[in-house]
């Protein structure tokens, strides 16, 4: 049934580290060339840190995995230079519809306002994202991807780790000052460190089918509770590129995983759902899922990111999206530490910020699962009561939960300098700053997030007095012109307003009237040099 062949094949190549008498030493080794490992490696390389990326396979394209990439993820991918091919290939969507039986319960719009470069979501097969990332990685001279390099042993040291890597030509050792374990939900590195991966296991089985057909359905996320074509269970339909549709059918806890994957079972189910059988199956699998996490993401010089650190149910598209946000949180911190511009303890803020994000994601995904797959007669009664009330009372509509879609986390972090004044607008301390369409000095259109890039930046609204000094200052009205007023509104500006933005574009501090010592102190704080460190 799972006949999809690898779409992209990469070759093993012997590297200079093999056959040495003593191990070569690298600043960073990233293990796992999935989206999280690739993003981490690219981000580090863009920041001038040489990276070795190790992967045990030599191809991408198999399996049916992440398909939904959220606005914040796309903004990160844009900074990493891969958003364009993803947007070009992907299906852009923002409307979701929730049905019960045949009736539309409600519809939602994920991005109801203008003035953002990136859409709310795109759907894209994970292999297209990975391919775009591999292409980008290949263009970076200080990033080396080693296919069919499987880490089989890890020895921790105070100043790094030694990895033993198995290749088709035999094993070799390499030393890395830092190791990023982005080796997925079944992380071998997690096992090598003997770390527990605990949480909640859900009994319900789900059938996932990627179906190729010429569909009449619009590019929207359609979710059914108890649809006429799939009695008593839930169903999801979502468009992907290449006329492929993701279909997700709840099967219940007692379903026979093996039997349910056979065409004899799958085709009639889909025929009932789609009303025809003019489709072919790209991929079918039956899965259960778990919501769990490592207690700590940082173990000395070994840092876990993505599914190796935390795992969620698929409802809400929080797996790949949160993993890529881990990558961006980690990369700038590691880069500063390796360059000696921040203390090693800055890495603790990765653990703190991304642990909180993981808890948030696990919380959302667990609550969605409770709603989609009730586990007792009473849970089902509450669920069905909510669905019925949703037709009569607005409060119940808000309780209907078919997956709360991935949003970036707002960090409550010692790296932020607490607000002293009150601010309105959508910019929030600790959150990624909102995008806005601007013009640069020469009158060219530029998006705010493009202008910020990956550097710590001060944004300043002039008020006639001396503008702030700092490594990078952008003056509103000079360097960036807020032609349409989006910036003014979203940042609640007044003359003299000054904003300090982290290298990951999260807001670190803001003042109505900043003084050089305040800015300097906040800048040191965001690098973990002063302030109350966890």
């Amino acid at each position: 049934m799972n006949t999809r062949k690898a779409l992209y094949q990469y070759g093993y190549r012997r590297c200079a580290d093999q056959g040495r008498s003593s191990p070569a030493r690298h600043p960073v080794a990233v293990v796992g060339a999935g989206p999280v490992g690739l993003c981490t490696a690219i981000d580090l390389a863009q920041r001038g840190v040489p990276v070795v990326l190790l992967d045990d396979a030599d191809r991408i394209g198999e399996g049916s995995r992440g398909i939904c990439y959220a606005k914040r993820t796309l903004e990160i991918l844009d900074r990493l230079g891969v958003a364009d091919p993803c947007l070009e290939k992907g299906v852009t969507w923002r409307i979701g519809k929730v049905f019960q039986n045949d009736d539309l319960l409600y519809a939602f719009d994920l991005l109801p306002e203008d003035g953002h470069k990136m859409p709310a979501f795109i759907n894209l097969q994970q292999y297209y994202l990975e391919h775009a990332l591999v292409e980008r990685a290949a263009a970076l001279p200080n990033l080396e991807i080693r296919w069919r390099n499987k880490v089989i042993d890890l020895k921790r040291r105070n100043d790094g780790a030694t990895l033993t890597v198995e290749t088709p030509e035999g094993p070799y050792d390499l030393d890395a000052e830092w190791v990023v374990a982005a080796d997925g939900a079944r992380s071998a590195l997690r096992g090598m460190l003997g770390l527990a991966f605990q949480g909640e296991v859900f009994e319900d089985r789900f059938l996932i089918a990627d179906v190729k057909m010429k569909g009449e359905f619009p590019p929207e996320r359609w979710f059914w509770f108890d649809p006429p074509f799939h009695d008593g269970h839930s169903a999801l339909l979502h468009k992907q590129p290449d006329d492929v549709w993701r279909i997700d059918l709840q099967l219940g806890p007692d379903a026979d995983a093996k039997a349910e994957q056979t065409p004899e079972r799958v085709v009639p189910r889909l025929r009932q759902m789609l009303g025809h059988d003019d489709f072919s199956l790209e991929w079918v699998s039956v899965y259960t899922f778990q919501c769990r996490r490592l207690e700590r993401f940082v173990h000395g010089r070994v840092v876990f990111a993505g599914d190796s650190a935390h795992q969620v149910s698929p409802f809400g598209a929080r797996g790949a999206n949160s993993g890529i946000q881990d990558a961006e949180n980690l990369a700038w911190k590691l880069a500063l530490i390796l360059k000696g511009e921040a203390p090693e303890s800055l890495i603790e803020s990765y653990d703190l910020e991304r642990s909180a994000a993981a808890d948030e994601n696990i919380g959302h995904s667990t609550r969605s699962t409770d709603f989609i797959a009730p586990r007792s007669a009473q849970e089902l009664r509450f669920r069905d009561a909510t669905l019925s009330l949703a037709r009569h009372a607005p409060f119940a509509k808000r309780m209907v939960n078919s997956g709360r879609l991935s949003m970036p986390s707002t960090y409550e972090t010692p790296l932020s300098t607490p607000d002293r004044e009150t601010w309105s607008g959508s910019a929030r301390l600790g959150a990624p700053v909102p995008d806005a369409p601007m013009r640069d000095r020469s009158g060219r259109s530029v998006w705010l997030l493009e202008a910020l890039g990956g550097e710590e930046t001060i944004l300043h609204v002039p008020n006639g007095s001396q503008p702030p000094a700092g490594s990078r200052v952008l003056i509103l009205g000079e360097d960036l012109i807020d032609e349409h007023g989006f910036f003014t509104q979203r940042f609640d500006t007044s003359p003299g307003s000054t904003y300090l933005v982290r290298p990951d574009q999260h807001l670190a501090a803001r003042w109505r009237h900043a003084t050089p010592p305040l800015i300097e102190s906040a800048s040191r704080r965001l690098r973990g040099i002063e302030g109350d460190h966890a």
């Binding site: 007669a377 009473q378 009664r381 909510t386 009330l389």
Partner: protein, 72 residues
């Protein structure tokens, strides 16, 4: 308004109790459970305060434990 009120609030508590009884009269256990589920959701939203809801859940559970102990 963030603690559960446990003092009597109805002017005529007997009538309020009677309203619940009447709502359930003639229903099967299954239909009663269905009705109660809707009522709980409606009333919980009316309270609209997570801490109060938690207090109410705790009081209900506490009273179940006390009842169980009394019957043993």
């Amino acid at each position: 308004m963030s603690t559960l009120v446990v003092e009597s609030r109805f002017a005529d508590p007997d009538r309020a109790y009677r309203a619940l009884i009447e709502a359930h009269r003639g229903l099967s256990d299954e239909d009663s459970a269905t009705l109660n589920s809707r009522l709980v959701l409606i009333l919980a939203n009316h309270i609209g305060d997570h801490a109060v809801l938690q207090d109410a859940i705790a009081l209900a559970k506490q009273s179940m434990a006390a009842t169980d102990a009394a019957t043993e």
